[in-house]
């Protein structure tokens, strides 16, 4: 005997497959994300995001004014990145803590840009498209590069 709950759920599954299927480009993007596999990098996790509400249940004007500030941390390195909107693109102004020179690669699903962080660990990357990004920092004094977690900007 077919359980009527199962029958109704099967009907809902058909409904969503017909009315709200996974778009083909979403599947294609998921498949293509494998391109960004890094085998040797250490991870730096997102530890602070100014666009997030500081406390649950407290209303605040999130994302209303000023640039967004992201902080990543891993392997004794802090990567602080200020995000500004320039038209539909994003401008990244970053700071490595402790301050040190590095090669910084900004990656997004459609490409990447590499910039040099100067002696005091400061870097700027212009014209990054809106969407998910990750930064890979290659430090002169560290064997493995540090890759930040992917985050949507």
């Amino acid at each position: 005997m077919i359980d009527s709950d199962d029958a109704l759920l099967a009907e809902l599954r058909d409904l969503f497959e017909a009315m709200d299927p996974v778009p083909a480009q979403v599947v294609a993007a998921a498949e293509a994300s494998f391109t960004w596999r890094t085998i040797d990098a250490e991870l730096a996790a997102l530890v602070a995001d100014s666009a997030e509400r500081p406390l649950a249940g407290v209303r605040s004007q999130v994302g209303q004014a000023g640039p967004r500030l992201l902080t990543f941390e891993g392997q004794g390195l802090l990567v602080e990145v200020e995000i500004d909107s320039v038209g539909t693109d994003r401008r990244l102004v970053g700071q490595l803590v402790p301050p040190k020179p590095a090669e910084v690669e900004v990656r997004w699903p459609g490409g990447s840009l590499t910039r040099i962080a100067d002696e005091v660990g400061h870097f700027t990357v212009d014209a990054v498209p809106q969407g998910p990004v990750s930064l890979v920092c290659r430090l002169a004094d560290t064997a493995k590069p540090v890759a930040t977690s992917w985050v949507t900007i």
């Binding site: 709200d20 993007a29 998921a30 498949e31 994300s33 960004w36 596999r37 997030e52 004007q61 209303q64």
Partner: protein, 192 residues
């Protein structure tokens, strides 16, 4: 490839096997999409949540504590990312709020059989819209394809595995009651 377990696929993908990666995407892209859409995210936002979730998995392939539960890991990541999108937009994950416009396409009118089918779909959509947010979210994820495990649904919604069965029964009962009130049969052709 079909003979590999999920944890084997994760291991193969971590070693650079693109076929294994595609198989993981095939198995779980519906679940990830359903989690984003269950948060009433637009197509654009759900697209971004999906992309970020899969990119996160790429960076975690060799680091998963329990590769067999990669589906649950993806579902939980998609839930956190969806909540992040809502917070950034200044919206809250509300319980029992009226449903926002969800971008469903209009069913195309066609031959009589298709018309009946589209009428039935419209009734189901209306019925779903009357459910609580909690029920609508649960049913959207439960009805993703291929069918997720209760452990994956638990991670998708952040609720205990043990509560899924009873909640599923209650939500389907609510939906059935709404459908009957609309004059629809509980399920077409279903004698009971």
């Amino acid at each position: 490839m079909g003979e590999h377990s999920v944890s084997e696929l994760v291991g193969l993908a971590a070693d650079g096997d693109q076929g294994a990666w595609r198989e993981l995407v095939g198995r779980y892209s519906g679940l990830v999409w359903s989690v984003a859409r269950s948060h009433n995210l637009s197509h654009t936002d759900a697209d971004e949540v999906s992309q970020t979730t899969w990119l996160r998995l790429v960076e975690h392939l060799g680091r998963l504590r329990d590769p067999e539960r990669v589906g649950g890991w993806l579902a939980a990541t998609a839930r956190h990312e969806s909540a992040r999108v809502l917070r950034r937009a200044g919206r809250e994950v509300l319980e029992d709020s009226p449903q926002e416009d969800v971008e469903f396409g209009n069913p195309e009118p066609g031959p009589e059989a298709r018309l009946l089918e589209s009428e039935r779909r419209e009734l189901l959509m209306k019925g779903l819209a009357e459910l609580s947010d909690r029920c609508r979210r649960l049913l959207r994820v439960l009805a993703s394809a291929p069918p997720p495990s209760y452990a994956e649904v638990s991670d998708a919604l952040g609720i205990p595995v043990g509560s899924i069965g009873p909640t599923r029964a209650r939500c389907l009962e609510n939906l059935r009651r709404i459908l009957v009130a609309q004059g629809a049969v509980p399920h077409p052709g279903g004698g009971s």
